[in-house]
């Protein structure tokens, strides 16, 4: 007996369903995978356009922020850079610019917070350490500032790291000098000289830095080097002249000042030449002068001191002709004694013996305060006799 066609179809249908049932889970997985792929592709497309839009917006607002920062409008820059960061959350460049804007608008703690966050991400970053050093310097946190300056010197720099490190070291030296940490500044200066570029500008900068820490000998060496590089460098010539003058090398100083005056006839330089000339002409320490000349120079110094002493007594309302314990009265008594000694001295040796006490008196009186502005003669005497005092000490 043959199976009716309807039953055959039913049987086939059942068999088909059974097969589907056996494979239902793999089919579900395939279906879900396809659905996920379609959804993923859609999201990918949407996200790509979204990312592009965000990138455009972040670049636009960053550009605006940078312009505002350059135009010294830090408050506007802050808003614009914050908007840029909305579209590019962790861009270090934007964060750095925002921190700079905050610093520029004197919002130090906020700026510091951003810089510290940046430092956490890039602990070796030269620019971030430098900014933190600036912040610490502004806040008078000397130890932190020095630490950050050093971290910046040894940190990573994207462009021209050698030059950047030299610039940071220059900043550190300036900072140390400003904080009167001369020993540390001298150490940094010596390190700097070892690696500095051998050009006039650098030599000049180093010479000036040595001058500021009172190392006139090193300053003079570097001024000379700068002059050798450029013989018409007025700043170097004047600097060399001043250094030589401070060291008591008055004739060398005169040469340098004259060299500067020849290049540019400046009244200030002319005054310096006059001063040095006066110093040279009034210097009783010169070995080549005779006894009479030395006596006259000493008496000239006594006259200048006498005048200054009276000026000081007048301004402080003190009678220096009476005996007392006031420094001016004591100085006046010494003056009277030394003046008579100079006049009484017969030989050159007697005058030479009087040079130290006269130097001491001149230095004491000329450094008295308040006595009004010193004259050129006062300055000259102080320079001559202070050098002698220093040499003695």
């Amino acid at each position: 007996m043959s199976t009716p066609p309807q039953s055959r179809w039913t049987a086939r249908l059942r068999a088909g369903r059974a097969r589907i049932h056996a494979f239902r889970r793999p089919i579900y997985v395939v279906w879900l995978s396809l659905l996920a792929a379609v959804f993923f592709a859609f999201t990918f497309t949407v996200n790509r356009s979204y990312v592009q839009r965000r990138h455009q917006l972040s670049s636009y607002w960053f550009g605006k922020g940078e312009d505002s920062l350059k135009s010294n409008r830090p408050t506007e820059a802050i808003g614009e850079l914050r908007t840029a960061l909305v579209y590019s959350h962790d861009d270090p460049q934007y964060l750095f610019a925002l921190a700079q804007a905050l610093e520029a608008s004197n919002r130090m703690s906020e700026a510091r917070s951003y810089f510290l966050n940046l430092l956490e991400d890039q602990p070796g970053s030269g620019p971030v350490n430098l900014q933190l050093a600036h912040l610490a310097a502004k806040e008078n946190e000397t130890d932190d500032a020095i630490r950050y300056f050093n971290a910046a010197i040894y940190g990573a720099w994207d462009d021209d790291p050698v030059l950047k490190r030299q610039q940071v070291r220059q900043e550190l030296i300036n900072f140390l000098i400003a904080k009167d940490l001369k020993t540390q500044a001298r150490g940094e200066l010596l390190t700097y000289t070892a690696e500095m570029p051998k050009n006039g500008n650098s030599q000049l900068w180093v010479a000036q830095a040595f001058s500021r820490i009172g190392d006139d000998r090193s300053a003079l060496d570097f001024y000379r080097a700068a002059v050798r590089t450029n013989r018409r460098d007025i700043t170097a010539l004047l600097g060399a002249g001043r250094a030589a003058f401070h060291m008591g090398r008055f004739r060398d100083a005169l040469e340098y000042f004259k060299g500067a005056y020849d290049i540019h006839e400046d009244p200030a330089t002319s005054q310096l030449i006059q001063l040095v000339t006066l110093v040279i002409d009034s210097n009783p320490f010169e070995s080549r002068i005779d006894t009479q000349e030395r006596r006259e120079r000493l008496l000239l110094a006594m006259d200048v001191v006498d005048h200054r002493l009276r000026q000081c007594a007048e301004s402080q309302n003190i009678d220096v002709n009476t005996i007392g314990t006031n420094p001016l009265q004591v100085a006046r008594a010494r003056w009277v004694y030394l003046d008579s000694q100079i006049r009484r001295a017969r030989t050159g040796a007697d005058l030479v013996q009087l040079l130290p006490p006269v130097a001491s008196l001149v230095t004491t009186v000329e450094q008295q305060d308040p006595c009004g502005p010193p004259s050129a003669e006062d300055q000259a005497m102080l320079r001559i006799y202070q050098n002698a005092e220093d040499l003695q000490q």
């Binding site: 889970r25 979204y50 914050r82 908007t83 959350h89």
Partner: protein, 574 residues
């Protein structure tokens, strides 16, 4: 995939599978959880992109929107959202957490797909236009809706279908938050309410896969950058405890304001429902216009700024207060959107403000940065307002990636939670569900419910105890001596059994008095019951025995008591 009414199991559409069948299989369920995570992750990525596009379009690309946009955009968007909610998507009001709980406990896992669509559109417009709401709770509901739709399509069993909504919820929240651990804990703590091995694996897989998808598209950066956080001096715990107290009071104010205002807004005439979101939007826009645009939208950028010491403590305090006001307005007006982001915002601002004041008053006490206080503050509001203490702790740890602040976080959160509970016994999610007329189980109450155990019902052993090797005669003698109607027999090594004195009488009358009890005991032995077993365990077996022997865990031959059906019922009745 949408349907108009919630059937127990969704009808078959017949499009893909001619005759769908129920799918069992643990492994397939776990695989499905991964797919749910992927779909939810993709949906949340699209949702976040949509919010951002709406914001750029309506408020402009600047972080500080300009007039007149700032004033008009939230109001106009509010009007559009109201029309959409009233006419097209009536179920998308509110945050979405309770809807997911309803799906689990009332509707057998059924959430219409239309809800996901409505939530996506309405919340996207509302948050993007500056309404003071967040995207996390809507993401949670979107995830749950997707999961429910997939479950129905694959004809899962009722049991599995019921569990699938929380799996999707975890995926959605995890993607929105970019913090899978917090999302998993939140769903277990607030939605499911219990740790069950059956669902835990699926929840974890879905949360992880959704986070992977989100991170692929949106990057792995957290929602806000976390500053260097520190906890140095133990004495600073006092400062954190004070933050917990302040957070508790802020939570109560926030919660009370919603409790009072929401039913009143709902009770207003129907035509006002069209205007309520618009008016809320107008007020929020006005606050933004007069100088505090930070309160608009989710506000993650400003949480970031607060954590980086960008505001003074006075500004932080003002922002916390204004955010409570604006969120209450947005939420009670019926605008769809979440409360997670506003809670984090308020917490961060409040934390920063309290930290700032403490630093001012007690500079020697406060060593942590304002960012640390803002971070702890977020956890405090989570514990105090959302009432999820465990999630609140892990959220802070996960977001910060720093376990050094675990002690202050636990302390401040616990203080906030306890004070908030005592001042406002009903948590915000329970409050909302009760206002909506739903009696969803309160996870908070469940957590603290007293569990009755066997030891609460058991009584001392008053019946004779015999060994199975004793004779029937001995057993009867012992029973008669004690006056008991039953004797307990220990049949080593098989366990405990009982035999009635009347049965012993019968056996003796048949002349079997010299035989051992082992021959006369019923075949089954008593189930092992221990004092620490839940009472339900004893209840299952009690009907089959006159009493159950409660054994010592260390020595099953030693009895610590007896428990009968009547004992159990009396204990339950008390």
């Amino acid at each position: 995939m949408s349907a108009s009414a919630p059937p127990a199991v969704a009808p078959d559409s017949g499009e893909v599978f001619p005759k769908p069948e129920r799918v069992h299989g643990e492994r397939f369920f776990l695989l499905l959880a991964i797919f749910i995570g992927i779909f939810s992750g993709l949906a949340v990525v699209c949702f976040r992109i949509a919010i951002d596009y709406v914001r750029i379009t309506l408020l402009g690309p600047s972080l500080s929107p300009q007039y007149p946009r700032i004033l008009l955009a939230p109001a106009a968007a509010g009007l559009v959202v109201a029309v959409l909610v009233i006419f097209l998507f009536p179920k998308v009001r509110g945050s979405g957490v309770n809807q997911t709980k309803s799906a689990l406990y009332i509707f057998d896992g059924y959430i219409p797909f239309r809800t996901a669509l409505g939530k996506f559109i309405c919340s996207g417009i509302a948050i993007g236009s500056g309404q003071s709401l967040g995207p996390e709770d809507p993401s949670l509901q979107i995830g749950a809706s997707i999961a429910s739709a997939l479950g129905r399509r694959l004809r899962l069993t009722r049991e599995r279908l019921r569990l699938i909504a929380p799996i999707g919820a975890a995926a959605g929240l995890s993607a929105a938050f970019n913090s899978p651990i917090s999302a998993i804990l939140f769903v277990i703590e607030e939605v499911i309410g219990r740790w069950s091995a059956g669902i835990f694996g699926a929840v974890v897989l879905s949360a992880i896969s959704s986070v992977v998808v989100t991170r692929y598209f949106l990057g792995s950066e957290p929602l806000f950058r976390i500053p260097a956080v520190q906890f140095i001096a133990p004495s600073e715990l006092l400062a954190y405890a004070a933050l917990g107290i302040a957070g508790a009071f802020a939570s109560v104010v926030f919660s009370k304001a919603i409790e009072i205002l929401r039913p009143r807004m709902k009770a207003l005439p129907r035509w006002t429902q069209f205007l309520q979101p618009a008016i809320a939007g107008l007020i929020i826009g006005a606050i933004g216009w007069v100088g505090r645009p930070e309160v608009m939208g989710a506000g993650y950028e400003f949480i970031d700024q607060a954590m980086h010491n960008q505001f003074t403590w006075q500004v932080l305090g003002i922002l916390a207060g204004l955010k409570i006001l604006t969120t209450v307005l947005s939420f009670t007006s019926g605008t769809p959107g979440g409360m997670f982001a506003p809670t984090l915002f308020i917490g961060a601002m409040l934390g920063g403000a309290v930290g700032g004041v403490e630093r001012l008053l007690f500079p020697h006490l406060v060593t942590g940065s304002i960012g640390t206080y803002a971070l702890v503050g977020m956890g405090v509001l989570f514990a105090g307002f959302l009432r999820v203490p465990m999630t609140s702790v892990f959220m802070v740890l996960e977001v910060s990636g720093n376990y050094s602040i675990i002690v202050p976080v636990i302390l401040a959160n616990t203080v906030a939670y306890l004070i908030s509970r005592s001042l406002q016994p009903v948590g915000i999610f329970d409050l909302l569900s009760r206002q909506d007329g739903l009696e969803l189980p309160s996870m908070e109450e469940q957590r603290e419910e007293r569990v009755l155990r066997v030891e609460d019902a058991m009584r001392p052993v008053t019946v004779p105890i015999l060994e199975s090797q004793n004779t029937i005669q001995d057993a009867l003698r012992a029973a008669e001596k004690s006056g008991a109607k039953q004797v307990l027999v220990h049949d080593s090594p098989f366990g405990w059994s009982t035999i009635e004195t009347s049965a012993l009488d019968d056996l003796i009358s048949k002349g079997e008095g010299a035989r051992t009890l082992a021959h006369s005991l019923p075949e089954t032995r008593m189930p092992p019951i221990y004092p620490d077993n839940r009472l339900e365990v004893a209840l299952r077996h009690a009907p089959h025995w006159p009493f159950l022997a409660v054994m010592h865990r260390a020595d099953p031959r030693q009895l610590v008591g007896l428990v009968s059906m009547q004992d159990i019922l009396e204990t339950l009745g008390h």
